[in-house]
């Protein structure tokens, strides 16, 4: 169970290696024993020094015993290294009960000879010292515990209790020195826990004996929010991460978060994934977001940021990919109900396991804890998309600088895993003023690849939503403001009306559209009327043309008739003339007259 959950986490994590040099130089130089504790092996470059004791110290309740126990349990379950737990404070039963809540079945491991537990009870009131003694009894018991299971790992929790039981401190110290020598000779990797003392790491100065590796656990409360931190004070013979690393203890044990950023070396994908809103995809060069990019939706309250996020979540699940939805404002069921009202059914996806909702208040714990929590969830679920709604609430869990560095690390982490990150950000109207729409008070804008801005447009007694793409790296994107309409069937993006009367949205846009429709209708009717008019005119003209043609026909017929009459008369006249001439017996000269008459006849015929 344990290994199943933790193995996938450890494989991609080394990218987050805090100290990259460790790998090349020290791995060979100093053999290490992997703890199996999530994240710790990255910081230490492989684990605790093999065959040597490590001191784990810290104040009360900072997780020392748990650290030690997890070291043993993971050794027994994951690395096939049995362990011996020598407890000075709790009995074996108490210990088993305490770690059962973390999913460690200590009783079964004891029964299976994977772990040996010995409770060394030192009761000062029952002990009187009468001279010289040694701790051979403890050595024998330790040796027995180690030999009974073939232990490779040993925990002494908390050996300082011995100091309360014995008054001869000098003798005790000599014995402790011998004990650590003994452990080294046995070749076991030991974890010694110690309570933090004044001015030194442990009350009894155990660090004096354990000089190879010292890990300090801390539990600090800042602004009523507690954060657990881990620091490697010393690790002889190897380089290590020196920062304070936050860690959490939850139902699966401890996880440490290597806080160092991985730098800008991650690979990118050019695959595109849909936003779930077709019109928005069109605005983003037609294909939506890049896989593995970071997307920010910012806007004032009630502008539909969560709806956009829910659309993206639903689309991710529709593709059959896993989505992690971190809601910091609404409970899952509230979100399901609200999204149902816009036609998005998220619950079936959640039931199928594709959608994992995680709702918590940002003030529940510190930023680091959130980050560790997100790390863990991402490692476990391995989602394609992570939605954080909203990131602005983190500011209430820390200062804005803390928030920025946390988000930076989160974005880097998600990018390294090729997880598409979708953040919403609530821009408060008061701080943003009129001009700084394009700023986030957590200062992450420069880390964002695609930035959508949803804003309200107040016009004519109405508040409408507008959406535009502020930036989108690596793709041609629309420069247009779209009206963002939330309908019972989801989000719809519409063109805003831009014309002589300015940018119109909402009912003004609708009114303008209606007006335009009416105008268009009128225009069409006018055109039809004019068309009819023209038709009528043409018809009239055609009639006129027909009349004229008829007239012309009549005229030409008349002309022909006249010409014929004329010809007939001419013929008659010429016949008469000829007859007269014949009668007179005229000279040949008159033949010319006749010829002349013939020519005229000819010409007439031609005409």
């Amino acid at each position: 169970m344990l290994s199943g959950n933790f193995r996938p986490a450890t494989t991609p994590m080394p990218k987050l290696e805090a100290v990259p040099r460790t790998k090349s130089a020290s791995f060979r130089a100093l053999p290490k024993t992997a703890t199996g504790i999530d994240g710790l092996d990255q910081i230490t470059g492989g684990g605790l020094p093999k065959g040597r004791p490590t001191l784990v110290c810290g104040g009360a309740g900072c997780g020392k015993t748990l650290f030690a126990m997890e070291f043993l349990v993971r050794g027994a379950t994951q690395f096939n290294e049995p362990g011996a737990f020598i407890t000075f404070e709790e009995t074996g039963e108490e210990l088993a009960a305490n770690v059962r809540s973390l999913g460690f079945d200590l009783d079964a491991m004891i029964a299976g000879n994977r772990i040996a537990v010995d409770h060394v009870r030192v009761e000062p009131s029952e002990i009187a010292e009468t001279g010289d003694f040694d701790l051979e009894g403890l050595f024998l018991r330790l040796g027995l515990a180690i030999d009974s299971v073939g232990a490779k790992r040993v925990v002494l929790d908390t050996i300082e209790s011995l100091f309360a039981g014995f008054t001869n401190q000098a003798l005790l110290r000599a014995e402790l020195r011998r004990l650590f020598r003994f452990l080294k000779d046995k070749g076991v990797t030991a974890v010694i826990t110690g309570e933090r003392g004044d001015g030194q790491l442990t009350r009894q100065g155990l660090e004096e004996y354990v000089s190879d590796c010292v890990i300090l656990l801390d539990h600090r409360v800042n602004d009523q929010i507690s954060t657990r931190r881990l620091r490697i004070v010393k690790y002889r013979g190897t380089s290590h991460g020196t920062n304070e690393y936050p860690f959490i203890i939850d139902e699966k044990g401890m996880s440490v978060l290597p806080i160092t950023s991985l730098g800008l070396t991650h690979d990118v994908s050019s695959e595109r994934i849909s936003s779930g809103i077709p019109r928005l995809d069109t605005m983003l060069g037609g294909n939506g977001f890049f896989r593995g990019s970071s997307i920010l939706v910012s806007g004032t309250a009630g502008t539909g940021k969560t709806s956009l996020a829910a659309h993206f979540a639903a689309e991710t699940c529709r593709r059959g990919e896993r989505c992690l939805y971190l809601a910091f404002e609404e409970s899952p069921s509230q979100l399901f109900r609200n999204m149902r009202s816009i036609g998005l059914e998220l619950e079936p996806y959640a039931k199928k396991g594709l959608l994992r909702m995680h709702a918590s208040r940002p003030t529940l714990y510190g930023l680091e804890m959130h980050l560790v929590q997100i790390h863990k969830m991402v490692s476990e679920l391995d989602p394609a998309v992570v939605i954080i709604d909203p990131i602005s609430n983190f500011v209430s869990g820390g200062t804005s600088r803390d928030t920025q560095s946390m988000l930076l690390r989160l974005i880097d982490f998600l990018k390294a895993r090729q997880v598409t990150a979708f953040f919403t950000h609530l821009t408060s109207g008061a701080t943003s003023g009129g001009t700084s729409w394009e700023g986030t008070d957590v200062g992450v804008s420069s880390l964002i690849d695609t930035w959508l801005l949803v804003r309200d447009i107040e016009l004519a007694g109405e508040r409408n939503r507008g959406l535009y793409v502020l930036k989108s790296r690596g793709m041609p994107h629309s420069n247009q403001i779209r009206e963002f309409v939330i309908t019972p069937r989801g989000i719809d993006l519409q063109d805003v009306y831009i014309g002589a009367e300015g940018v119109l949205t909402g009912s003004m846009r609708a009114a303008q559209e209606a007006r335009e429709k009416a105008q268009a209708l009128a225009r069409r009717q006018e055109e039809a009327r004019r068309l009819r008019e023209v038709d009528a005119k043409r018809a009239a003209l055609e009639a006129q043309v027909a009349a004229l043609q008829a007239e012309m026909k009549a005229l030409s017929e008349e002309g022909k008739l006249l010409a014929e009459q004329d010809q007939a008369r001419e013929d008659v006249l010429s016949e008469q003339r000829d007859a007269t001439a014949r009668r007179r017996g005229a000279d040949p000269e008159s033949a010319g007259v006749r010829n002349d008459g013939n020519e005229r006849k000819k010409a007439r015929n031609e005409r």
């Binding site: 002990i127 009187a128 009468t130 001279g131």
Partner: protein, 118 residues
């Protein structure tokens, strides 16, 4: 081997003890000494214990010596940390006295055998 011999001697004493106990109503002191091999400290502790008992509890005590080297499991079962450890089982209350018993006064106080009891 040695442990056995010591136990034998302890048993012998216990037997002798039983005889004296028959007519006296005084309680029997059951003492158990844990050692780890024949170390000088263990031997010194046994010698000191015997002397103390002879001087203060003559005839009404029995000593059992347990060599943890031979049986380390008992160290866990009997919650023994320091060597040598003397456990006063009876009369109650149970007391643990560690060390080689060279500090006579402390040993007597630890056994709740103040010199006045003599």
């Amino acid at each position: 081997m040695n442990g056995k011999r010591l136990e034998m001697s302890a048993d012998k004493k216990a037997n002798g003890n039983g005889k004296t106990n028959g007519n006296a109503a005084e309680p029997v002191w059951e003492l158990r000494l844990y050692t780890a091999g024949q170390t000088p400290k263990s031997l010194a502790a046994l010698a000191n214990l015997k002397r103390l008992c002879e001087e203060n509890l003559k005839g009404k005590y029995k000593i059992e010596v347990i060599d943890l080297m031979a049986n380390p499991r008992l160290a866990k079962e009997h919650q023994i940390v320091a060597i040598p450890t003397l456990v006063k089982k009876l009369p109650s209350p149970l007391r643990q006295i560690i060390g080689d018993l060279s500090d006579r006064e402390k040993a007597l106080v630890g056994l709740q055998l103040t010199p006045a009891d003599r």
